[in-house]
Amino acid sequence: MNSMQYYSPNTINEYRKIYSGIADKSILIFSGGTDLMVGRHELSQDAVIIDISGIAELKGIVKKGDKIHIGSCTTLNELLCSHKIQNDIPILIKAIKTMASEQIRNRATIGGNIGNASPAGDTITPLVVLETKIEIFSPESNEVRTIPIKTLFSGPSATTLEKGEIITKIIIPLRKDEYIFCYFRKIGQRNAMTITKASLSAIAKCSDTKIEWIKLATGSVSPVVKRMSKTEEFLKGKELTPAVINKAKEIIANEIFPITDIRSTKAFRVLITKNLLKDCLSALIKR
């Protein structure tokens, strides 16, 4: 492998200075590297690597008022071991537990999982139902902007980030008293180290026998992780009878746009998305 140009800023300000010196070149933002190292021979030799994993401002989990701020370079195992996340965002713990392995979770970062913009990204579906905001730093304007996570993705592996922009924070609103039910399940080839064929995240609030509200997001069955707003709207105020569950399964099947690829087929993805919804609603009844 030829020598690649490489920088490792220690602060966001250093990052900005480095960027302004090489803005005309193709830039590769590197953090945990668990995806990038696998494809390292396909990386352009002209690209300049900027390793942001040493920027202290991009690490850590802080509670600020009614929000949790997670630095983008926080690793998946740091999140898994965090009492703040365990207590306040259990759906994220459920998702991360199904991701990769101890070895990879010690390196892989939440910002990387989001920035990779995979429709199968397993931190993304919980973050979408939680109506998470993403803070982005632009070295061009030297400013940060904050956007809803669902507007970050423009397609498989594609984001609305401008050149040089980096994800700095993941901001999750806390509504612990509000939602009392959370669900995450993914279906893959096997239980360990598996990439999602289809997944479902949900948070909900019920009063007596009725659903007050429910928020649903599916993974790996559309070009991007997507909220299932028609299904959510239908379920609102409903009692979960077998007929209602069957109808909801039909609605969710029409909200997704799965494809056949190396991991699964379109038909199987439709079937398991419907079954995941049934599993989720059954768990909600039993609660």
């Binding site: 492998m1 030829n2 020598s3 690649m4 490489y6 490792s8 590197f30 590297g33 668990t34 190292m37 696998v38 390292r40 990386l43 690597i49 390793d51 994993s53 195992n77 537990k97 990769a100 392995s101 101890e102 070895q103 990879i104 010690n106 390196r107 239980n191 360990a192 180290m193």
Partner: protein, 163 residues
């Protein structure tokens, strides 16, 4: 780039490209061939080592992250008392067949043993701990048996190695 790091308690200095893999540095530059390459994609765990006391796949760690790091490989574990007990438990339970995955499994075993709260783990939790290690010979049952035996033995494993 020149990188200064500690490997199995010894200070070393190596010349490497930013995206060179820790795995290749260990095997080719430092002659530490106990660490194996299986898949090269982080799936199989044969290349598992400790980096700053955390379990990692050495095939996924770039040289540029290694400066001032503390790496411990399977070769650095041989002299510890707990290693002999692990080795014995693996042998007695038939947990080693072709042996290629064994260095990785042993590193994950060490990680499991050093946390005392994990002593009461059930089989499902042991399996989850080994999510990142693949064995194509044993069918895992014998490895799990060995690990279960080790967990009941009250073995002292330090929180940190070579510090």
């Amino acid at each position: 780039m020149n990188i200064d790091l500690t490997v199995n308690g010894k200070s070393v200095s190596v010349e490497a490209e930013p995206l060179d893999r820790l795995l290749d540095i260990l095997r080719d530059k430092l002659g530490l061939t106990g660490t194996k390459e299986g898949c090269g994609e982080g799936e199989c765990g044969a290349c598992t080592v400790f980096m700053n006391n955390k379990l990692v796949n050495s095939c996924l760690v770039p040289a540029m992250h290694l400066h001032n790091s503390n790496i411990v490989t399977i070769d650095g574990m041989r002299d510890f008392d707990f290693f002999k007990l692990i080795s014995k438990a693996y042998e007695e339970n038939g947990a080693v067949q072709c042996g290629f995955c064994t260095p990785g499994f042993v590193m994950t075993t060490i990680n499991l043993l050093r946390n005392s709260s994990r002593k009461s783990l059930g089989d499902e939790e042991i399996k989850e701990a080994f999510a990142g290690n693949i064995c194509r010979c044993t069918g895992y049952d014998k490895i799990i048996k060995a690990v279960r035996q080790l967990l009941t033995m009250n073995i002292r494993v330090p929180e940190r190695f070579y510090e």
